[in-house]
Symmetry: C2
Subunit: 323 residues, 2 copies
Amino acid sequence: MATIKEVAKYAGVSVATVSRALNKNGYVSEAAQKKVEEAIKALDYFPNEVARSLYQKRSKMIGLLLPDISNPYFPLLMKGIEENARENGYSVILGNVEEGSKLKQDYMTLFGQQNVAGVLSAVEGTVSQNHSMPIVMLDRVLEEDDYAVYTNDVKGGILAAQAIMDRKPGNVLIIAGPKSVPGSIDRLIGILSVLNPTDVNYEIHQTRSFTIEEAKETAEVIFRKYKKIDSVLASNDLFALAVMKEAQTRGLHIPNDIQVIGYDDIPFSQLVYPGLTTISQPAFKLGYQASDLLIRLINKNKISKKRIKLDPKLMIRDSLRKK
Amino acid sequence: MATIKEVAKYAGVSVATVSRALNKNGYVSEAAQKKVEEAIKALDYFPNEVARSLYQKRSKMIGLLLPDISNPYFPLLMKGIEENARENGYSVILGNVEEGSKLKQDYMTLFGQQNVAGVLSAVEGTVSQNHSMPIVMLDRVLEEDDYAVYTNDVKGGILAAQAIMDRKPGNVLIIAGPKSVPGSIDRLIGILSVLNPTDVNYEIHQTRSFTIEEAKETAEVIFRKYKKIDSVLASNDLFALAVMKEAQTRGLHIPNDIQVIGYDDIPFSQLVYPGLTTISQPAFKLGYQASDLLIRLINKNKISKKRIKLDPKLMIRDSLRKK
DNA sequence: ATCGGGTGTGTAACCGATTACAGTTTTATA
DNA sequence: TATAAAACTGTAATCGGTTACACACCCGAT
């Protein structure tokens, strides 16, 4: 790889002039600009980002902290982030942190050591040690987070509950997501705000994670534990799919014997039979906007909204009964 | 963030001594070592990786090039990579490249500018411009790739085809993956090596991608185009799931009317009804081993095998008929 | 003719680490 | 006790960029 020094030599100018020509700041004569551009082309030169980062005390990278990339909801998020970041000349360092692990602090330290320009985190309790490193929380957001992009989960809960209430439920089972995940609580609040004023029977089954393993377990448990359930509000699509499968295995017909609604709208919801009716979280958009907000913060651009709340949407497929 | 200079001052030694104490090379007296360690703790010092990278002309990062992170096969791969990389003190820069895009060269340049220590790529035709930057190909591997970790796709094809042949197929449909993906061809070779010696009827339907959109389209098309198919060998699980759904929508019973086998064993294959019988690619292990191989290359460690071929496995669930 | 500002350019300091080199002290060996 | 080797330490160069600063030139206004 050629260096700026070699370019300067080839072009017959100083490194300062090359740098100015490259970054188009400061005065550079047309003649010099042209010589530099020729030299760059001739030597196939690309500036070393590491050297830049060192001087600027800030790299063109953003750190991304995710709780579990094997959860299919996150890849979409990542895609949105990656796309926006790339469009803005940033790249993404990946940090995968098992739920509740202490690894998140290690990653934050690492991000600091790498001079990342900012951090996107979907892990609760992410704190910056370095004040010059902005953080935008996404998806899993607390009251106290300054900058955040997330879904209106109360509304999501309401949409899901209304969809069920519109379809004459008998006994409803709510599978509630882990209490450690802020969104789970909001969804439950939304759901209950719809169910409580009615006289519908419901029970709540509490879960501890969003993993596929627990989804499978849970699906088995609920059919033993709760008899005569005919409507299920699941905390995410994984749980919904697991319940559907278990129901079908037990010879129950969906949606006639039991109707199910999910949450997230992961791509697979369309690929099962019957298609899963679910609440769509705009994952790609969430990621894209979060990256956008972070980069605005980095560049100290005007910020219209510190917390961006996106609306979920009801995706009607075939796992609920006809109205 | 504290710098090495501040640590040196606090400890009453030179920066050279601090550096030697940090990296445990060169001579450092016990007294000095202790003073440095105290200073580090007192100032909460972590060495700046960017400065290190600049001097070493190599960072503690590896570049990862993936063709489509929204394909659920890749997150597992990523998880394996991330885990191994982290264990070895490396972090991962993400590069998502739409199939066939020219973006891959941009990313390779970027990786160069970032002084990455090496690159893992699942994108065909990835070439290094910088000889000191080793590349390990994974999953999508060509003959000419020096270092690679991949699945034995011929064997995978054979396993799938045998599973079908063991279960008295009438008319078989092979959904072949895109020709641009090396593995697709091998799978087809494997499948045909089993089918051709028999007198079973089969047809081949060629596809252009592994996307969910094409999977849905294809599922519709094949039921119109190919009548009386009763066994389907899909190029990946997405296509298999789409076919299952379409079949069920048309009132066909799986596996009695039509049996389906997939490829990949993405986590969802367990969550559909009936469970999808498929060929399991050890995605996590693939990623883990690829990272391991790359880091060996980076450290110029002994390498026992330049190309690592992992074996696929038949996962029997319920989408095939009884033997 | 003189002054001032706008242009254009190069030298050198700087970012924060590693390490070559030189100098000093301690220790071991003859 | 002399002497070499080992142990320890600091100064300064280095990695490859950016930019403060100084200097030189050109042009128009006084």
